[in-house]
Amino acid sequence: MNAYDTCSNSEEDITYLFNGNWSTANSSIATVNAYGTHTGQGLGPTTTSTWASIQQWRPHSFNCPIGVVRPGGGDNVNPQILLGGCSGTNITGSTQPAVVGQQINLCASYGGVSANSQSWSVPGTIVGGFTIAPNLLSGGPTTATLNVKSTTFYWVTSGNSQTVTFTLNYGSNQVATAQATFNIAGPTPSTQNAPFVTTSLGQAAINSGSPYPFLQFGGTSDNIGINFTASANQPAGYSWVFKWVNIISDDNVTLTDSNGTQTTSLGTGFDSNGTYPSFSNVTANTTNDNPKFQLIPPCTEIKRTFDAQTYLMWNAGLTSPPSIDIPLGSLTWGFSGDAILSSGTWSLTGTPSKYAVGFTNGPSYPTWSSAHFNGTGPACP
């Protein structure tokens, strides 16, 4: 506060004169220290006041009247949103940068108020996490818990000006809110509405192998089974990586020998050679798959039908805390082939089939409750 000193004809800061005289009407809502610094203790309105004796003073004389001023005002204490947990940074009312798959840990701070209920409202698509069982037998997204004081979630979709609102119901059905806004970066299609992935298909073939050949979809440099190419505008500043998750819906082999014919499922679910994700990246934005099945004696005919859904996942590459994989979309594809042994040589019979349905961009996660582990298959009948 400034006052005009008529003795010296100048403005003077007299804030210090109020020191030690501050008080609030309801100290369970707000307290104030000797220097006028207010601290919220609860939620709601209260008033604050102070006073000071003001006197113009000249050395050796008191020639001006003394006066007392009693300024005051209102306090209105609302919850705060803390980013990074309950010891985190107050981001209430501000705009924060974020990226899809980044862990967002928000905590509401509202002093010692007893909450009747509380909830977070988060725009866009979010998940509470993406979990994969250590044995790979199950996997999928988890739901974020939003009716708690402290919540953790991950955005799956990007977007600017995404406002998160915390709402607290307390006391006699009183409501207090706090908001924070996020600009969420993420990969976007290279052109509007373009799919994130394009594919090209090869064909089923008999490929050499040791000690036995394979019935394989593709498998050679001039015949790749299915080739996936991802394309996206990437947000700057991240060590992002694409990942490929394949969920097999159907994989049956029919083996024939002199004992008869037997059809066996090679399994459904998460397609794995023993690790996550399903396919290794061949380059930063491409991979391919060439499923193969060994043609062993004494089988004389082996047929295979295979149908799968491949998801493109993206990870921002954050490490502390780690970012999770988020889906960019998926496509379905498959093939079939029939190999027959004649005069000691395997060859294709009938017409092998193949298909791939165009990639659909979207935030749906792959979910599985079984795994298709590659490895050992059935014996001939």
Partner: protein, 164 residues
């Protein structure tokens, strides 16, 4: 033999030698075998990582699938004996196998992603002692055929801690 003929003979031998060494085909790739743990307790998994590197001067297509299908491996104990196979390995014999494979186009000097091979899935390495492991991979015909071996690594399987 006069001096001229001697010199001519030496020249022919040197030229032939030089031509011969120039024509020695370089190995198309190398296999590096490593393990994170050279010493494990009995009963623990014994895992090795295999890195295939294009050591030739030209790009090559090569597939990357299930390690136990892509590579053959040899395990020996300290008496140079092959340890017993696991029940899983015995049961796998005579059965089909299948995998998903990615076909890579490796430029000279580039490597496939590390391939994990769980050796203890196929050999019973529960008996304490030293084991040497080496893997090899068939070279595709278009790259010259044959097989290439990795370095050999030694893993020590330690007995369980003595009960207190």
């Amino acid at each position: 033999m006069n001096t001229f003929l001697k010199r001519l003979l030496i020249l022919i031998v040197l030229t032939a030698s030089a031509m011969s060494s120039a024509q020695i085909p370089t190995t198309p790739f190398t296999l590096a075998l490593e393990t994170k743990e050279n010493a494990v307790r009995t009963g623990s998994e014994v895992e090795v990582d295999i890195t295939l590197r294009n050591s030739s001067s030209r790009a090559m297509h090569i597939s990357y699938g299930l390690s136990e299908h892509d590579y053959t491996f040899e395990v020996r104990d300290s008496q140079n004996r092959t340890p017993p196979e696991t029940e899983f390995a015995r049961k796998s014999k005579g059965r089909t196998n299948f995998s998903n494979d990615q076909v890579f186009y490796l430029q000279p000097g580039e490597s496939l992603p590390k391939a994990l091979l769980v050796v203890s899935k196929f050999y019973d390495l529960s008996r304490p002692g030293k084991y040497t492991i080496q893997v090899s991979r068939a070279v595709p015909k278009e790259l010259g055929g044959g097989a290439i071996k990795s370095n050999e690594i030694t893993i020590v399987v330690a007995p369980p801690p003595a009960p207190r």
